[in-house]
Symmetry: C2
Subunit: 306 residues, 2 copies
């Protein structure tokens, strides 16, 4: 057992997956949960929490580990509420996709006697809510921690142990670098996927039913990430604005260069460009971050009319 | 048996998958193959062809169905070579990803006694070459045909029968509409994926190893399609230039609108936009074009160090 009592604030995909993983591994003595919605609390009590409370302040009482699993935009309000009720020596972490905004919102509300170690599990599916969690979500996935300077070594080591026991791999980095890395590998890819889906939605000459029918040709890979939780992504773009705008600017420049090569009919440029991008894909497979099976190892979908 | 003799010109992923599917279904009396590379011919003879020839002209002799499976940019040269050697009444089709360019390149070389019915199987993986084919590639996938006006009804019906027997679903449309549809669902998504991978490749402050390590956060979905065959994609962009530039233009406008909302901190706009894109994803799952399993039903990748 890593922590005697764990409090999960916000009970969606990440919190429910953590609870399932902690239960499977016997990592927590008691898992207490809080969510705004009474319905969510009821589902959580049924599926993965030992106890749920009607306020966040109540949930964190006596907890050795508090995990903030609410959207990034809601972190500040929650921190203000729980700050006075935290146990001395407790570890506070979060699972937000950006870190500077979370640090700015949360840190001012925490007293000196607790250890705030922001975190970001890089795992997810396109589903959300308390029924969407499963214990294996973090298996072999990265979980980034951004411990502040002078962070208590024992508190960090214990949190790392817990995360690794849930199957994830831990890396630590500073807050600013974290926000830039995720802008590249996650936030801008999502912005682009949303945009491509938006373009398809606006077409007049190509019907939406055609887009859907023929999506296997590439488009559907964009729609998976474009189906993620709208509130979470709104907050991501509002709170990691600088890094996202930086990378989006680079993306536009790069796209215009490709577009110009297409317009000019520059076959040599296109071939060389497309050859280079293959290498990164190979790197990802070699690093064990994706399957090498054709088409992601997708099962052949069931036959349907149309 | 649908055709007595089938000639496959070009022996990569699509041709080898067709041969496997035709053999599995007993659809062809004899499968004859030609490829430029002697090594490819040897592999094809070993794995899926009854006979290979040292020229395309020789391969098509006496064939009832000729399938051009070479890159779009090579179609014209091949058509000029085989034109005089085609059997009267033969059906000629192709598997190119664009259709107007193929029609322009191929049609002038065909005599009046043969039936040219351009085609486009919307199936593929990120692998290429004669060893990459498998019989189930076309299962439940669309195969678009663009028969010319006045096309022989019996020739079309027979080709359709063959394609359906390989597991695919057939739709027919005119050439210009085809090229616009595929620009939306395939060509522009690929251009964008290539570009995003290119941006990641150019970053200085974020290392390539970081991009690879953390790619599961969204980026890796782009790399699958960015790993496709560079020659094929060069030809696609050179030959479907007008439709691709049209859609890329719309994409840039849409991206700039999203970028502006991020810069302005317009949370309402972002939330509404991200909510709309969810619907298209749901449509794709309901149409049976993808799995609803989280994360595409990817198996958890094997644990690896690092």
């Amino acid at each position: 057992m890593t922590y005697q009592r764990v409090a999960l604030i916000g009970l969606g995909l990440i919190a429910s997956s953590m609870a399932h993983a902690m239960r499977a591994g016997g990592l927590a003595g008691e898992i207490v949960g809080f969510a705004k919605s009474a319905e969510t609390r009821a589902v959580a009590l049924d599926l993965f929490c030992d106890r749920v409370t009607e306020s966040a302040a109540e949930a964190v009482q006596g907890a050795d580990l508090v995990v903030l699993c609410v959207p990034v935009g809601a972190m500040g309000v929650i921190a203000a509420e729980i700050g006075p009720h935290l146990k001395q020596g407790a570890v506070i972490t979060d699972v937000g996709s950006v870190k500077q905004a979370v640090v700015d919102a949360v840190a001012p509300h925490l007293g000196p006697g607790v250890h705030f170690i922001p975190g970001h599990p890089m795992a997810g599916t396109e589903y959300s809510g308390p029924r969407s969690g499963f214990a294996a979500l973090f298996q072999n996935r990265w979980w980034l921690l951004t411990p502040p300077e002078g962070c208590d070594a024992e508190a960090l080591a214990r949190l790392r142990l817990m995360i690794e026991a849930m199957g994830a791999k831990v890396d630590t980095m500073d807050v600013a670098h974290h926000d830039l890395v995720v802008a590249v590998v996650s936030h801008v890819p999502h912005a682009i996927a949303y945009t491509m889906v938006g373009v398809a939605d606006h077409m007049r000459r190509v019907s939406q039913s055609e887009v859907i029918k023929y999506s296997a040709a590439g488009f559907r890979d964009f729609t998976r990430i474009a189906a993620s939780d709208p509130v979470m992504w709104r907050d991501v773009f509002l709170t990691n604005k600088d890094a996202v705008l930086d990378i989006l600017g680079r993306f536009s420049e790069e796209l215009f260069t490709l577009q110009r090569a297409i317009r000019m009919g520059d076959g040599e440029y296109l071939h060389a460009y497309f050859t280079r991008t293959r290498e990164i894909r190979r790197g990802i497979i070699e690093a064990g971050q994706d399957t090498a099976a054709p088409d992601f190892g997708r099962a052949v979908p069931p036959a349907k009319g149309g």
